[in-house]
């Protein structure tokens, strides 16, 4: 994966950290719902923050299949790549 992806992953982990308890370690394989206990409302609000940061729009349809931190980072990466 490119630096762009790594940058996205790093920013995403930063945002997720704000929503999680301090002792949780976030890695690409971390499950958003089961491990971070991010409910649907929190996830949607998080996505809005990310949309602003990367100047993209993430559709709800695309979010339906997202389980892990890596999958979300990859989705953002793909949308950003398409917009270039």
């Amino acid at each position: 994966m490119s630096t762009d992806y790594n940058n996205i992953l790093s920013r995403l982990c930063f945002h997720l950290k704000q929503l999680s308890s301090p002792d949780v370690v976030i890695v690409p394989e971390t499950d958003l719902i089961n491990e971070l206990a991010i409910d649907s409302v929190k996830l949607l609000n998080l996505v809005m923050e990310i949309e602003d940061e990367f100047d993209i729009s993430v559709s709800l349809n695309a979010l339906a299949d997202i389980q892990t931190v890596h999958e979300l980072a990859n989705l953002i990466y793909k949308i950003k790549s398409q917009n270039k």
Binding site: D39, S40, V41, K42, L44, N45, M48, D55, I56, S57, V58, S59, L60, N61, N83
Partner: protein, 395 residues
């Protein structure tokens, strides 16, 4: 996890949140005495969570019309209009809605939920975009899903956020349906319609406005926010429901776009469901007349709404951003909200409890809906009970 295990998990989550024996959702109501009073268990209670904004559920004109329709046309249509035919009363109500809004045509649906489902899934499809307010009603979200279109949310009532998303879409903004609501059902605030119309025109999009909670409440003749703001011509499609100010059940859409009628042939929530029963149509027609001529009802409704909003605001409750018939008390935790809801019920006042994720921003709501049928004394009493409960809720 098996299919049934999933339901067991739902039951466990409910049990963890709600005390044993307390039926918070779907509270059994044993008898209904009037638009504002009923019996729950052995207690006479005041309705303050019915959306019965104009208090028309017992209007003699509506009762009489419903009785006569049952005698004349029977209890039900027993099928869809596409397959079983279209009764004259259904067609008449559609004309009356179109005339009421000074629009070219109207369609009646079996519920308000289905009106949004039918319109959104009929207008947008794969390859299109639906741009919705984050606080949209579930019927809007579900209509979007049914459509197969790309669904993008904007921050609640934030038109600059909406515009940012339209801009990102480029040429696709022309195949974008924007959905907003006249009054939002949870917080009771109104959409910034003038700004929304300006932006949708600039990007050549289509706007659908759901007037479910604003019909009968806003505008000189009660059409809703579009009439209140003088922007009816700027809205492409207006949907709404019969189940609030009109006191029955059903939904509608009106528009000046001649294409509206084509929805009857492609929209599954319209095609594949039974049409409203004749008594429902008849009481709705009677209620629509009362609503249109209901200047005094609206004056009373707003007087009651302002009275309660001011009292609760003065007591220090955190409320939705603007006064109106939907008054949401915003609480930090489900436990606090549950305590307030139970306290009100113990004092004979029935309101709505809204817990996450249904409540915006992860909060919990104790939602009141005011009616024109409430008396000033009843509103005073509600205020007194809120005052009494405040100490125990926030101690």
């Amino acid at each position: 996890m098996s299919l049934l295990d999933k339901l067991d998990a739902v039951a466990a989550a409910r049990k963890a949140l709600l005390p044993e024996g307390l039926e918070v959702f779907g509270t059994p109501i044993e008898e209904v005495y009037s638009a504002t009073e009923a019996r729950i268990g052995d207690r006479r209670i005041l309705f303050l969570g019915t959306n019965n904004y104009l208090g028309l559920t017992f209007a003699p004109e509506c009762l009489r019309a419903a009785h006569e329709a049952i005698d004349r046309e029977g209890t039900g249509t027993t099928g869809s209009r596409m397959a079983n035919g279209s009764y004259s009363s259904h067609r008449a109500l559609e004309r009356e809605f179109a005339e009421f809004y000074h629009c070219q045509s109207g369609i009646v649906f079996t519920t308000g939920y289905q009106a949004n489902l039918a319109m959104i899934s009929g207008l947008a499809g794969a390859g299109d975009v639906v741009l919705i307010d984050g606080d949209s009603h579930a019927s809007v979200y579900d209509g979007c899903r049914l459509s197969g279109a790309e669904i993008i949310r904007f921050r609640h009532n934030d038109v600059s956020d909406m515009e940012k998303r339209l801009k990102r879409l480029g040429e696709r903004s022309k195949s974008t349906l924007i959905v907003a609501e006249g009054i939002y059902s949870m917080l009771g605030d109104q959409a910034p319609l003038a700004e929304i119309v300006r932006v949708k025109n600039a990007y050549n999009s289509i706007l659908l406005l759901d007037e479910a909670h604003s019909l009968g409440v806003l505008g000189k003749t009660g059409q809703g926010l579009a009439e209140e703001t003088g922007l009816t011509d700027g809205v492409d499609f207006i949907t709404g429901t019969f189940s609030k100010s009109l006191g029955s059940i059903g939904g509608y859409c009106v528009s000046n776009h001649p294409q509206l009628d084509q929805l009857r042939y492609i929209s599954r929530p319209y095609i594949f469901t039974a049409s409203p029963s004749p008594s429902t149509i008849a009481s709705t027609r009677a209620a629509l007349k009362l609503l249109r001529d209901g200047t005094e009802l609206r004056r009373q409704l707003w007087q009651n709404s302002r009275q309660l909003y001011a009292r609760l605001d003065g007591l220090g409750y955190q409320l939705g951003p603007q006064p109106g018939p939907v008054i949401a008390n915003i609480l930090d935790s489900p436990q606090q909200a549950l305590l307030l809801w139970k306290g009100l019920l113990d004092h004979g006042i029935y309101v709505n409890l809204i817990l996450p994720p249904a409540a915006p921003e992860g909060k919990a709501l104790v939602r009141c809906s005011v009616s024109a049928a409430h008396t000033s004394e009843q509103i005073d009493h509600v205020g007194d009970v809120f005052a009494e409960l405040r100490k125990s809720i926030f101690q």
